[in-house]
Structure formats: C-alpha cells, structure tokens
Amino acid sequence: MFEWLSDLTGNQILAAFISAALPVAFIVPFVIFAVWLERKVSAHMQDRLGPMRVGWHGWLQTIADFFKLIQKEDIVSSEVDKKFFNMAPYLVFIGSYAVYAALPFSNSYIGSNIDLGLFYIIAVSGLVVAGILMAGWASNNKYSLYGAMRSAAQIVSYEIPTALVILAMVMFTGTLSLAKLSDLQTSSFWNWYIFGGPDWGWSKLLVLPFMLVAFLLFYISSLAEVNRTPFDLPEAESELVAGYHTEYSGMKFAMFFLSEYGNMFAVSAIASVLFFGGYQSPIGYIGNSLGISWLVPFEQVFWFASKGIFFVFVQMWLRWTLPRVRVDQLMTLCWKYLIPYAFVNLIIIGIISLI
C-alpha cells in the first residue's frame, strides 16, 4: 500500500500521511455504526425499539449525537489540572488509534507492516492507561480518581494473561507479524488457529482444545482491557457515576467515547487475526474465481471488518446480559485463574509445537 501510494504521489512523506490517515476513515464510520448498533442491540434485547426518529430506524442517531457534542460547551472547571485535563482524551485516543497502524485490513493494506506487530500493539495500548490515569487525576474528582485507579490496575493486570496467550501463539506460529499470521491461515476456515492451524496431522488434533482455551482466555482478558461489562468497573455507573470521564463534557467526552469503541474493535480484530484467520475469507474469494484481482483486497477488508464486528457484537451481547464483578473479584479472576491457566496453556502449546 505504502509503496503503491509513494509511486502514485511521488512523495514518501505524503504517502505516509495518507496511509496513516486511512484508519480514521475506518474508525469514525465504524464508531458511528457501533454506537448505533449498541443502542439497537440493547434495545432489541430489552423488548424496546431503540432510536427510531432520526433516519431509517435511527441510523443517523450517532451523527446527531456527534454534531451535538461538537456544539456543547467545553467545561474546564477551575479546580482541574488544565494541562493534563486537556491532554488526556487525546492521549487515550492516540493509544487506541496507534493500534490500528499494525492491523492488517487486507494483505495489501496494512498501515505499517512491521515484523513486531503484536509486540507493538501490546506496547502502544499501554498509552491508554496513561491517558486514563491522567484524566482521573487531573479531574480533581474523587469518582474520577477511583475510576482511573481501578482502570489502571485492571488494564495492567489483564495485560499479563493477554500477553501470555499471545506468547503461546507466537511460539506456535513462529511469527510476531500480524500479516504473516493472517497469511498462514489462508484458503479455508479449517486452517484457522482456533481449529489448530494450517498444519495437518496429529498435532492439529492435539492442539485444538488448547487453542480453544487460549481463545477464551484471550477474549475474557481483552474484555477487561477495554473496560466492557462484566469488567466495566472504571466507569461503573452505579458506583462511580461515570468513572474517569465524569468531569468531561462535549468533544473531550466524545474522544473517550471514540477511543472506547475504537479499542473494542481493535481487540476484536486482534482476536480474529490470532484465531480466526484475520482478513482471510473462510470460503474463498469471489474475485479469484471471477478473475478480477482488484476485488480481492476489498473482500479481505470486508471479512476483516465483519469478523471484528461480530466480536464487537458479542461484547455488546455480554454487556446487556451480565452483571458487573467487584474490584477484588476482578483481580482474583485475573491473578488466581486466568494467569495460571494461561501459563499452563503456554507450556502445553510450547511442548506441542516442539515435538
């Protein structure tokens, strides 16, 4: 993509900017769609209709929300630490946006096709914690502070099982590159790692149950990392009002919102790359069978997005079904259950990949 763009424009810097801006073209419509979807999904799960009045079945709802948030007054109360207060939403957004740089939307479009993709993602998503802590601290509000503290503790803890699962996958596949991972799971759905990967033979059968466990561990801890129910403690409405963004209004709040939904897709996308073939189609490409080669990347983007959105949907489903755990239970779950399981899983997958 980058090469193609630099050929097209004849300027590497311009090409870099364009390819960096492309995920925005995905995130913003996605968030608009996802917020609407969340409201519709929750409504239909609760015998309601959800937004109905703006556009067909309220599909313009989020756009209206967006325009409204733009024109809202931006309150910066006199007690806040202004520098950090203003910086925090952008930092959080940068954290979740930077992840998109390494997401392989198709084999011809990756923002930055680095070999250490997975490593990079784990690293930059740490920025989100810094942003949230900053927001909570700078707000000078006790609820915000509690939300931020909880969030930091939660995200830092849950990064460990996530990283352990990713480590297991890296050991098994021998690559840290997300593009390479997706390429390995090509041609059909039984080559996905959730079904034991592309290598046929007894090792596939042996590793299959552990891959399932690995996926569950990954998905649970990724839920906690993006602060979704049942782990939505940082913004637990019934306890902490609105958590770390209690004091934010208008566009700054919208930035938090944007990055929350952006994060939801990012972790779903990583799950789909690790276990569900990433951008690979489960049933082959129409473009290939028709002989139209330019269609293939678009199909890949379609599959990538729909896999991601499916997992986002599952996140919503869980949110509107389950109650919320308590802060000590959250930690218990992480340190006493997920991490030991992830370790055992890591060892077993390691042994299988050795022999």
């Binding site: 006790k142 049942p230 409405e237 019934s238 079904t321 109650p323 755990v325 802060v327 000590d328």
Partner: protein, 371 residues
C-alpha cells in the same frame, strides 16, 4: 518525611445513579474499604405529618399515596385500617377482598421495581427493563380500576373509591399464569447468575438480633431468617383466611441474612402473593363497596397505633384524634426509614461497590424515608 495515609470522604448523592432517589451517603474510606457510612436524609421531606394535621381524615389519603410511591395501595390500606380502628367500623366483605387483591398486586409491583433496580445496582441493565414490562401489566390492572397509574387514592375509609371494572377479574386471572414463568425467567437471568451470586452472597450480613434491635422489618428482617410477617403474626383485614407461606432467608448461597437472601425473599414473596390473589379472586362476594363509608368522619377522642405489612416492611400509623374532623397528630412509622438505619451497621468493612449492593437490598423509597 514519613508517609501518612488519610481517610477519604466520598459523597454519594443526592444525585447519584444508585441511591434510589435523593439520599446522600457520606462514606469514610480507606482505599476502597468503607470505614463508616453516614446517611443524610431529608432531601425529600415533604411535611406529610404537618399536612395530616391540617387536612380532614379523607383528605389525608392522597398524601399517604405519595409517601411510598411504589406501594401507594398499601399506604392507603394502612391508613384506612388505622382510621377504621379508631372509628370502630366494619367494612363489607367485598371491600376486604378487593383490598387484599389490590394490596398483593401492589406488593408484586413494588418488589418488581426493587428487584429490577437491584439488578441495575449490580450492573445488569436488562432485568430492570424486564421487570418494568411486568410491572406495566399490573399498572394496567390498577388503571382500569381507578384510572391512575401510580398514585391511586383508591381505598377510602370504610370502602373504596370505585368498584372494580367488570373485566378486572378476568384480566387478573390472565395475569397469574403469565407472570409465573416470568419469575422463573428472572431467576435464570439474574438470581442464579454466577456473577450476581458472587456479588451479593456473604455481603452485608445482618444477624437476627441486630435486625430486631434496629427495628428492621419486612424482607430485611425475613432475609435474616426470622419468620415474621404481620399478615400472619398480627393479622389485619382478612389475611387470616388465606393460605400462604412466609419465605425467609436460608443462606442458600452464602450466610443467612446476606444481600442475596434479602433479594431472594422478595422473589419468593411474589410467588406467595400470586397464591393469595388466586385464592381471593374467585371468592369476591357481591355488594356495594361504598355502603360503609361514613357520611362524616369524626372519630372520638383517642389514639391508635395500627400496623400493616407493606412491601417494604412494617408500616405503622400512629393517629391521635382530638375529636375533630382532622387528626391531631399522625406519625408514620415508615419501614424504609427504620430499615435504612441498619445500613451503617451492615456496610462497615465492605467495599464501595458493596455499599451500593447493600443499599439496594434494603430497598428504600425516599418518599417514605423522608415523608
């Protein structure tokens, strides 16, 4: 310089999503552990007792509606029972039956709100809406009877404001088989949910003797395992004619008297209320519901303390009459007010999130706490 820790005082409310209205709690925290809880009341103090002194006896009834606005029927019930005792009048059988049916329907409606909002406190949003769907059905029954959805002014001293609608019996009979499976659905969705149990079991354990000493009543007292229900222990109206059980907390998933027990007592009580309605609905005798209403309500000099089992607990009316047409003094023993005073005792040493769970399990209505 030595590090020192400071206690953090956290204000919850009066505007807070889970204080069930305008209660303010002052939490003294050490980390997230609660050292002390100080409730501040009065944000909804609407001077009921002053109004009662200024109004005539029938005029007080609409104000009783507005105390526990989730169980208005039962507030009416308690008040008219007290005044009837003072006047010494007997009400017709038909009125008694209709009162009991309305009271039990109201109990279900009130418990539905309590259970739904409790789910909300724990973080589950959907059960709340499911409960409201069912509550809406009960409100429809009230609406065809007296035209109001929330505040009914239905029970009058000596009778009722309206006779029941011709369709009421049929619709109520349809409601019972509709509602039984819904209780089961609620159990599947929330009651026996693993996370819900983890959040509520062994939290806010209230021993029986403490509960009695604090004057707790209703599901809070029964949750502690004490079989105590005024409908059985101090029967009023015609409750002694019906066959029903008093569910008590048994510590099914934790300790007896924890939040889950109080919650589950309410779930079981809805079932018992259905049983009472089933027994009563077929036996409503004919008659005029307004025949016993006195022309002029002017009780003799005297006083009465009369209590009924409101969905929240023991609702007592202490009425002093000086022989005129308006009460000399009305004091309401509001169950929520008394139950809420246990909060501090129960929440010491728990986390902030548990305070929310404990408060929700007490099921307070601020209109009644502050009156």
């Amino acid at each position: 310089m030595a590090l020192k820790t400071e206690e953090l005082v956290l204000n919850m409310g009066p505007q807070h999503p889970s204080t069930h209205g305008v209660l303010r709690l002052e939490l003294e925290l050490e980390g997230e552990v609660v050292k002390n809880v100080k409730p501040h009341l009065g944000y909804l103090h609407r001077c009921f007792e002053k109004h009662a002194e200024a109004m005539t006896y029938p005029q007080v009834i609409p104000y009783t509606d507005r105390m526990d606005y989730l169980a208005s029927m039962y507030n009416n019930f308690g008040y008219v029972v007290a005044v009837e005792k003072l006047l010494g009048i007997q009400v017709p059988e038909r009125v008694e039956y209709i009162r009991v049916i309305m009271g039990e329907l109201q109990r279900i409606a009130s418990h539905l709100v309590a259970l739904g909002t409790y789910g909300l406190d724990i973080g589950a949003f959907t059960p709340f809406l499911y409960c409201f769907i069912d509550r809406e059905k009960i409100l429809n029954l009230f609406e065809i009877t007296c035209g109001a959805r929330l505040l009914y002014n239905y029970m009058w001293v000596g009778g009722l404001s309206h006779d029941i609608h011709p369709d009421f019996v049929r619709l109520t009979k349809e409601f019972i088989p509709y509602f039984r499976p819904r209780i089961k659905e609620l159990n599947d969705l929330l009651t026996f949910n693993k996370i819900f149990i983890e959040r509520t079991a062994n939290i806010g354990v209230l021993p029986v003797d403490t509960a009695i000493n604090y004057g707790a009543s209703g599901p809070v007292l029964r949750g502690s395992g004490f079989r105590w229900d005024l409908r059985k222990n101090d029967p009023y109206s015609i409750y002694d004619r019906f066959d029903f059980d008093i569910p008590v907390g048994q510590g099914l998933v934790g300790t007896v008297g924890d939040c889950w027990d109080r919650y589950y007592v309410r779930v079981q009580e809805m079932e018992q209320s259905l049983r009472i309605i089933e027994q009563a609905i077929d036996n409503i005798p004919d008659g005029d519901v307004q025949s016993a209403i006195p022309k002029r309500i002017k009780p003799p000099k005297g006083m009465v303390y009369s209590r009924v089992e409101n969905p929240k607990g023991e609702l007592g009316y202490f009425i002093i009459s000086d022989g005129s047409t308006s009460p000399f003094r009305v004091k309401v023993r509001a169950p929520s007010f008394v139950n809420l005073s246990v909060l501090g005792e129960m929440s010491k040493g728990h986390l902030v999130a548990d305070v929310v769970a404990i408060l929700g399990s007490i099921d307070i209505v601020l209109g009644e706490v502050d009156r």
